[in-house]
Each structure stands twice: as C-alpha cells, then as structure tokens.
C-alpha cells in the first residue's frame, strides 16, 4: 500500500536575520509524513521544533529547500494564500490561548468556517457535530473562559477538526493542564488517529511523545533520530 506523503520536507533550512545577527534555526532537514500517521516532533528549546511547526503550519516559509503540502510547494505563497492553507489544511491546537475570549464555545468552533465563507446555518450544524464528537456538545453555549483547561483543549481539537483539515498540528497541547487531563487529551488524539486523522504533535516531553506512533527528534536544527514504533 503506497500513499503519497501529506508533508514532505526536502532539505529545509530556516535562517533568521535580526540586524547584524544571523541565526540558523533549521540546518537542512528531510522527512515525510503520510496520511494517517501520528508523529511527535520532540527536542529541547532551541532545537528547531517550533520553527518546524511554523513551517508545517504555513505560518512561515523555508529560507531554502522545499516544503510540499499535499504535493504542492507553498514556499512562495503570499499572506492570504497561506491564510487559506491554514484555514483549510491545518487544524491548530495550541498550548495556551486557544480560544477567543468573550466568545461562546460554539462560536469559537464556527470561526474558521466563517473565514472560509460557509453559511451560518451550515457552520452551526458542523460545529455542533464536531463538538459532539469530542464529547463537549453540552458546553456549546458556555463562554470560552467558563470551561476547564481540559475542556478548552477539547474545544480546540473540535475547532481543528471542523474544517476537515489534512493535518492536526498540536503544539504542546498538554503543556498547561494537569497530568491526568493531559493523558485524557492524548488518549483522545490517539483515538482520532485511529479514525485516520493525521496528527503532528510538537512537544518536549518524552512521555507525551510516547503516545505517537513515530517520534522525530531534533537537535540544533537537525534530525538526530526518526523512529517508528
């Protein structure tokens, strides 16, 4: 069974220039992720994992090398084209500040669909469906600051799923919650992966990475190991 990769990094480098100081965050990395994989990218701070995440998430583009998303290079996309990629192909789950304040859970989940121009009726229908899938439909009309940390992450996952993206990109999704809830969230991601969602997890904690089926370890902007379970 041969699958085309969803993500393909080909000798990707990223160099930040701040005034006279040059800083190479990524020193040429190659890897591929196929549909249905659950990949953890781990590394200490400064290893280049955040930069990798930014490039995967179409928040940033490589300095050199190629990043192919679904076979298309997005290196020379402009702001709006990248925004559309993020909207349609990437479902972000962040460590903190995942939800809009003063806004209900339902409206939070609807928001990416609003940017995609989906009608209000359709938005609400789809948002309620994904909220049901993550088991939090009962909180749909609560304000985002009136639910617990674990629930916030579930809502964020629901929002990530709403646009049926190619990948779910979770950046330290358990960083701000207690370990019991963290395990619940991770089990939930495993469950989603079993339903054939492609998940990329950025973390610095090995026990969190252990939930993934494949672990890529970065150090000083290079891949030092890429192990499948």
């Amino acid at each position: 069974m041969k699958k085309n990769p969803i993500i393909s990094f080909q000798n990707v480098t990223k160099t930040y220039i701040t005034g006279p100081v040059k800083y190479q965050a990524l020193g040429g990395i190659d890897f591929e992720v196929k549909k249905g994989e659950f990949v953890a990218i781990i590394g200490a701070s400064g290893s280049g994992k955040s930069t990798t995440m930014n490039i995967i998430g179409a928040l940033d583009v490589p300095t050199t090398g190629k990043y192919l998303l679904n076979g298309k290079s997005i290196s020379n996309y402009n702001d709006d084209e990248l925004a559309e990629i993020r909207n349609k192909e990437i479902g972000f789950v962040f460590q903190s500040f995942n939800l809009l304040p003063r806004t209900t859970v339902l409206k939070n989940v609807e928001r990416p669909m609003m940017y995609a121009g989906i009608s209000p009726r359709e938005r609400t229908k789809r948002a309620m469906q994904v909220l049901k899938n993550v088991g939090i439909a009962g909180k749909a009309n609560n304000l985002s600051n009136h639910i617990s940390g674990g629930q916030i992450q579930r809502v964020a996952i629901a929002r990530a799923l709403a646009m049926k993206p190619s990948i779910i990109l979770a950046d330290e999704p358990t960083g701000n919650i207690d370990s019991k809830t963290a395990h619940e969230i991770m089990k939930f991601l495993v469950q989603l992966n079993k339903e054939n969602h492609t998940i990329i997890l950025i973390t610095h904690e090995r026990y969190i990475a252990a939930y993934a089926k494949r672990v890529i370890t970065l150090k000083d902007g290079k891949i030092i190991s890429d192990k499948k379970k």
Binding site: D60, E84, R86, L100, T103, P120
Partner: protein
C-alpha cells in the same frame, strides 16, 4: 464576510470593558450632541423670529408714500401720493385677500379726567383681518361704520388699563380722542406683537372718521395689503408696483412716489444671518468630533496591542489580513456609531429642555439622526483604519508568541 457576526462580536468586545468604551465614546457623544443642540437652537431661534414676524404678517405688504428712504430726513416732507382709490384698486388685484388704507397720528385720549397720549389709527374694517387682530370684548367696526363715519373705537388692552378703573366695563363708554367723543365698541386681545405698531397700545377708529373728522386730510399714511399666500407675496408686490405706477402715471421707476415693503425680505435676511451663525457654531462643535476621533484611534491602538495574541490565533485558524482589518475597523465604527446615537439622544433631550426654558420652538429633524450616524461612522472609519491596518499586518508567529 459575515458582518452580522462581526458586529455582534464587536459589541461583545466593547461590552467587555464598558467603562473604557464609554470614556472612549465620550468625545463623539459630546461632539454629536453639541452639533445637534446648536443646530436645533439655531433652527428654533430662526423659527421663533420668523414666527414673530409672521404675527406682524408674513403675507402682508405695506405701501408707504414717497420714494425709498435715501438718507435721513428723506421721509420728513409730507407726501400725499396715496389715496383711498388706490386701496380700492389694489383690493381688486389677484392674490389679494384684502387691503386697507391707514392714517395714523399720535394724539391725546381722555376719559373722565384721565389723559394719555396714544397712537390713533384710522383703518378700514378689513384691517382687522389683515393684521390678525383678535377682539376680546365687543367687536371690530364694519365697513358701513367706516363709510358712515361712525364715532366708534376699538382699543388695545393697555389703553383699557390706563384709562379705566380696574374692573370697569369699557364697552359702551365714551372716550375723547383729540377732543371728540368716541364710543368704545371693542377691546383687543393681548397681542404678542411688539415694535412698530403695538396693538396693545393702539386705538383703532374708522378710516373715514379719522380722515374727515379727526385730522382732516384726504391722503393716506400707508396701505396694508394681505396676500393669499406668503409664497405669492413677491407676485403681489410686483402687481401693486405696476398698478400704482399706472395709476400715478409714473413711467420712470426712479420717480416712484411710493415704497413697497414686505416682511418676506426681512425673514430671508434674518434666516440667512442665523443660518451662518449656526453653521459657524456647528463647525466649532465639530472640532470635538475630531478630538473624539483621535481618542478612538488611541484606544484602538491599545486594543490591538492588547489583543495581539488573539490576532495571532485568528490568523492561525485562517483569517486573512483583510478579514482582520474589517473586524477591527468595524469595532471602531460600532464604537463611534454607538457614541453618535447616544449623542443624538442627549443632544435632542438637551435641545428640548433648552427650547422649553427659553421659549423657542423645539425643532428636531430626522435628517440630523441620519447625518449624525453618517458622520460618526466616517469618524470611525478614518480614525479606526490605522489601528486596524496595524492589526492586519501583524506577523502571525510574532503575534502568537506575544506575551
């Protein structure tokens, strides 16, 4: 884009910090309210002045003997050019309801040993209608009493209080005008009119009686004409002009022996002056809108900085630069329009109270609401654009990382 959702979002964001929102709106509220108050006062004052002139007669026209005044003393010589036949001819013109000759003089009036100096006006019966004189007691004299040179008088309210004891019935009493006895047949209602001919201090007697019995002259002091409509005053003025030139056999307009005056001209002059004043004052008040706008810009810049992380999140879930721009611009506009509407309400309320207090008509135009909303949205767009553009241009990575 879903504007309904964005507006409700903007409203909930503004509600989130209600004190700041109110303080930010204050400049716009004060600006809009003061413009509305000044405009309302200006229009009210103009209406009040026009109204006063109208009680003197917006559709009345006066014809005076002699050429238009040129310098002091030009009217001092006695001009005998207007005669009763002129009045009859004018009364038959189209668009003229009535016309009356007037002969006035100041003379002594007495009753039971009380003397006073008063304005005596010999007028025709139509004069009552022309000057809208309301009779409180008794009645005005009719055309037969004029032609029959009846010795009757209709007197103003101040004359009554001057000549008669309190509670004394003036009707039927004989007063002496210039030594001749006149029977009082009517007392006029208190009149608001003031100035040139105050009916409260006047005595009206039949024109023919005045001309033949009291002062003995066969020419008129003036003619008053009532046009059917104030819109037609200019037309009537022209017709009267032609008629009198014709009747007096004058072919050169520089040699006219009469002058026609109407209140319409006066009204338009006064309206112009108050209009200019109102505009000037409104412009000054509008400066506070500018100040309010700068306040909006300031707060929106703070808001954008405070919500940097939120903007990062929105961008990461797919908001395009333009969608961020519109969201923040809309927030500024909602802020200013809300301020504008509050300003309209306060301005209208204050105008109402002031109008009642200084006794001028209260004028509130629906158009001013439309203009206020228009102006305040414009202020929102102009001063909200720069902060909104800053928000839109934020780099998503930096914004997400912002603490």
């Amino acid at each position: 884009m879903d504007y309904k959702e964005l507006i409700s979002l903007a409203l909930s964001n503004l509600r989130g910090n209600i004190l700041r929102t109110l303080l930010t709106m204050l400049g716009i509220i004060i600006g809009i309210a003061s413009v509305i108050i000044i405009m309302s006062m200006g229009q009210g004052a103009t209406a009040s002045i026009v109204d006063r002139i109208s009680t003197l007669g917006a559709n009345t026209i006066n014809v005076f003997p002699g050429a238009r005044r040129r310098g002091p003393g030009a009217m001092s010589e006695t001009v005998t050019s207007l005669v009763p036949k002129d009045v009859e001819a004018i009364a038959e013109l189209e668009n003229v309801i009535a016309a009356s000759g007037v002969v006035s003089a100041r003379t002594t009036v007495s009753y039971r040993g009380k003397n006073m100096s008063s304005s005596i006006n010999g007028v025709e019966a139509a004069y009552q209608q022309i000057q809208s004189l309301e009779v409180d007691l008794g009645s005005f004299f009719d055309e037969f009493q004029v032609k029959g040179m009846a010795r009757v008088a209709v007197i103003g309210i101040d004359i009554v209080s001057e000549l008669f004891e309190e509670g004394e019935e003036p009707l039927g009493k004989a007063i002496r005008v210039d030594g001749k006895s006149f029977k009082v047949i009517g007392v006029l209602e208190q009149s608001d009119a003031s100035g040139m001919s105050n009916p409260n201090e006047a005595i009206y007697i039949p024109l023919d009686t005045m001309m033949k019995t009291v002062i003995g002259q066969n020419y008129l002091g003036s003619i008053v004409i009532l046009a059917t409509d104030s819109e037609l005053v200019d037309q009537v003025v022209e017709d009267v002009d032609n008629l009198l030139m014709d009747r007096h056999e004058i072919f050169d307009i520089d040699l006219k022996d009469f002058t026609i005056m109407n209140f319409q001209e006066m009204i338009s002059t006064i309206s112009n002056v108050t209009g200019i004043l109102t505009t000037l004052l409104s412009a000054i008040a509008a400066i506070s809108l500018l100040v309010g706008g700068i306040g909006i810009m300031n707060i929106m810049l703070v808001t954008v900085t405070e919500r940097t992380k939120e903007i990062g999140l929105l961008k990461s879930i797919g908001a395009k630069n333009n969608q961020i721009l519109v969201q923040f611009l809309l927030e500024a506009v909602v802020l200013t329009v809300a301020g504008g509407l509050i300003g309209v309400i306060i301005g209208t309320g204050v105008s109402f109270v002031i109008a009642k207090a200084v006794n001028i008509p209260f004028i509130a135009k629906p158009s001013s609401v439309v203009i206020a909303v228009g102006v305040s949205s414009l202020v929102g767009v102009v001063f909200g654009y720069y902060p909104a553009r800053n928000a839109a241009k934020l780099n998503p990575i930096d914004a997400l990382r912002y603490e």
